[in-house]
Symmetry: C2
Subunit: 537 residues, 2 copies
């Protein structure tokens, strides 16, 4: 191995993440994104042990056309005191058809004796015979040496014997696993260096984040000579998670010059992260390095002022290189500089220190005092800004008369009816009444609005609600609590959000929905299209 | 400095976190928790620059009785070409009354010239004169050397001059800041070692997580001789966040034996983390090392089997030491072992491989297929388990006839009425009808249930809804989408959750609410209290 191998285990070890339960369709979709990114190996699961994974490998040949990656099946060495050919779990690995197989084997004497309940010699035989069997069957084989660092600390001789047995039997690399995630970088570097010197085997590294050092431990192992790097999308995984493959890619490529991806592939990193999050439904940290929504986001007033001079002063890399972007947060901490910077980011040519900027900053501050937050609500901020830039010209081309929502249910076994919402609107002198049904109050109100307005404003048809979040803001007393609703929309390719605040969650949602409609209609209004023309459309 | 200093900047640098906007009351509450934990320094904010922070320092002497920590005011060195006594920002630092002041100073020639727009010599004079002025006024002073690692890479001589100037002027420690967060551990270790050798100054370290190495970089700096460690609760901070002080505490204390906290203080770590999350409203990562809700949580079937043998085999430390606990997740990936382990965790004496466990595992699998998830819904799982252990004995002592909710609103300016919910229940032959008002459908239904049932089952009065989450589960087609609602409750000191799934969000919520009521009434039912007795209560 001359260059580094990138090996993803999102679909197996990452699926141990709390809250993650991927269907076969979702696993196939995640694999396609990882392949398109340029990852070399994609571990798909444990065929024979997990029914969904067996199904995944059955469907993969037809439904997964890989451009860059090899598909890997994960499994265990044969059971103690059983011939490898007689072990159904090993047979299932071959039957999966995967060209590459990663076997987990014990390298910690305590685990061999207490969890596996066999002898140290039999464990070595299990590893050697299983690796040899699969290699003879024409598969490339990796060995995951489980609990390697804890095992090496306790009994280095035995740990080295495991590495030697696997390499001698034909394993392409022996992957040293910090299974409990308790190691620190200096120890990892020393253990990898010692193991490499003692065995000469090609080594890999697989880390968990229980000391917050999974990425650093992986980098330390690479520094000490490991050439095969395992991780998961967003660091998904059991307990504190696995090493974050996206962070590793950013560090290896941009900080150390390892050619793990082409520049074009690297520029897909943030989009890949977002796509996988949508599939798994398990949100990534906004603060995730390189790919997170906040990774290049600035709020501090001090920074916002300096960013106007030179963005490079406050960013460790150019976010374009990983397909991410700089964002400025509008907040009372940032003040006028933030509002000015954000306005320019949105394409408005505002003058520094102008009255419009000052008034918009004051209005932001006032609304934040009421519980609003514009950090995730670009569209609501833009409406506010336009109102200051051109007062009165941003009125929506319709008025709201009233709205109502109702939902009812019966005995647990009875099927409930959908929620029904009714809205009464007015466009000039025309009264409109529309009803929408949905799977909850916000969904029903959204549909009623579309029902009423789409015939007059066809551009609204592409407006789609894609995310909905509520936060209860506790005031001085419980009865004073307000709800802040953030709604995410898709409008063709663009995504943006709006915010509404009220004591009532449904009313807050209604406000955020109205902002979204106004926002889509804004271009129309700005272009000077009169209301009558819109009506005649 | 013979031992390590722990320095928290949650209230200043951590507040740059996207979504965080702490009130003065909340800042005071966070400071109390950090002090009780045993942190040595608490940076409260920037008095004079941020109005809320000025107010914080005004109120702190009366409202903040610190047992362990010193309060720190943060500010900048004086402006260029202005006498230090004439700089209002510096005066505000003294007026804050804080016994310790941390000054930020530039150490990167590019930032001096382009952001600060002054000469390299004047920047050194600004640092020296401001430090000296504050030290003469009787304050302990730290200097945050901003962009130190980037600056050192570009022009090490000037960076070292900054450290020397601050130390000579009386700064107690010079804190080397990786402000853009782009460094890796090896470079940090080398730079700290070089700086220590060249200047002999007492050094601190302040890292950001843009390479996912904030904790490792901090550990590397400590390894190279830094004795003052900065971080934030949960790694809160701008962009990718700051070094996570809780992870650092765990690593320094439990992995390296630094006596940064007493064992008793250390055992408060997880509770401190939870308390601060509740105050900030910005959720911590469940996967956060040591303190996260998932940090010692196991899902894998392989692990669940071995955990029955010896929990130490799959945990890097005993979670009791940091006040956290092991949890098992019930999931079809874990199968019967997980169900059995979870049942025992809940106090049920189930037999390994028993029919009850097998049936409960099958039922879990079936419901998970419909979109249920029991990982965050202990109470719903326990109801399911009891139904298998004692079929028919867990029926709630009331029946549901029907329920309905309605909410309405008018023109944007009109005050909307509360949501109104009506429930119709039956206890034996007694029909009950109750109405509840709330700030949304779930809240109104919750109150209507209390209104109807509390008179008959007084133990329900202590049941309080504290968290509410909705996830939309997308099926094969959009119209097939289901909503999974997770509701968190407090029942006296205990916290637990229930789950409901339905196409309709409100119906899913109703199911989760009913589970909560059943769960509270369960002890009553199990004790054999007849329905009539409950009615006569």
């Amino acid at each position: 191995m001359s260059t580094l191998q990138l090996y993803d285990t999102t679909l197996r070890d990452g699926s141990q993440q709390e809250g993650m339960g991927l269907t076969v369709d979702e696993k196939l979709a995640v694999a396609r994104h990882l392949d398109a990114l340029g990852v070399g190996f994609i571990e798909g699961g444990w065929p024979g042990a997990v029914p969904r994974d067996t199904e995944f490998f059955r469907r993969a040949p037809d439904e997964l056309v890989l451009q860059n990656a090899r598909l890997v099946a994960f499994g265990a060495t044969r059971r103690p005191d059983v011939a490898v050919v007689a072990d159904p779990q090993v047979r299932a690995l071959l039957l999966s058809g995967a060209p590459v197989i990663t076997l987990v084997g014990k390298s910690h004497v305590g685990h061999v004796q207490r969890a596996l309940r066999t002898t140290l010699a039999e464990n070595l035989a299990m590893i050697a015979s299983t690796v040899r069997h699969l290699v003879h069957a024409g598969r490339r084989v990796f060995l995951d040496a489980e609990h390697y660092f804890d095992g090496y600390r306790l009994n280095p001789e035995y740990a080295l014997e495991v590495v030697g047995a696997a390499a001698e039997a034909g394993a392409e690399a022996v992957v040293l696993c910090d299974t409990n995630g308790g190691s620190l970088p200096d120890e990892v570097a020393a253990t990898v260096a010692d193991t490499l010197a003692a065995t000469g085997a090609d080594l890999g590294i697989h880390c968990h984040d229980d000391t917050g050092c999974a990425v650093a431990n992986t980098m330390a192992a690479v520094g000490a000579g490991a050439r095969h790097v395992q991780g998961t999308a967003h660091g998904y995984g059991e307990r504190c998670g696995n090493a974050d493959l996206f962070t590793l890619i950013g560090n290896l490529a941009l900080k150390q010059g390892h050619p793990v991806l082409t520049p074009g592939q690297l520029a897909r990193l943030a989009d890949t992260g977002r796509a996988i999050t949508e599939i798994t439904g398990v949100p990534a940290r906004p603060a995730a390095p390189y790919v997170g929504g906040s990774a290049f986001t600035h709020k501090a007033g001090l920074h916002a002022s300096a960013l106007r001079v030179d963005p490079g002063l406050y960013q460790h890399i150019d976010p374009d290189r990983v397909g991410n972007a700089m964002r400025t947060l509008v907040s009372d901490m940032g003040g006028r500089s933030s509002v000015e910077l954000k306005a320019r980011e949105l394409g408005y040519d505002v003058a520094a220190g102008s009255g419009e900027v000052a008034r918009a900053a004051a209005r932001v501050k006032e609304l934040e005092g009421e519980g609003y937050s514009f950090e995730s609500a670009d569209a609501s901020f833009e409406l506010l800004l336009r109102e200051e830039l051109a007062p009165g010209l941003c009125r929506p081309p319709f008025d709201v008369e009233s709205w109502q929502v109702s939902v009812a249910g019966g005995r647990a076994a009875t099927r409930t009816q959908d929620t029904e919402a009714t809205v009464r609107l007015r466009i000039d002198d025309v009264a409109l009444r529309a009803t929408g049904h949905g799977n909850g109050p916000v969904n029903a109100l959204d549909r009623a609005l579309h029902e009423a307005l789409d015939p007059f404003f066809p551009q609204l048809a592409r407006l789609e609600l894609v995310d909905y979040r509520v936060r209860v803001l506790t005031g001085e007393t419980g009865s004073d609590a307000r709800a802040r609703v953030l709604i995410g929309f898709r409008d063709g390719e663009r995504r943006w959000g709006t915010v509404g605040v009220d004591r009532n969650t449904v009313t807050a949602s209604w406000r955020a929905l109205l902002d979204a409609v106004h926002y889509v209609l804004l271009d129309d209004v700005r272009a000077g299209a009169p209301r009558a023309a819109a009506l005649a459309d």
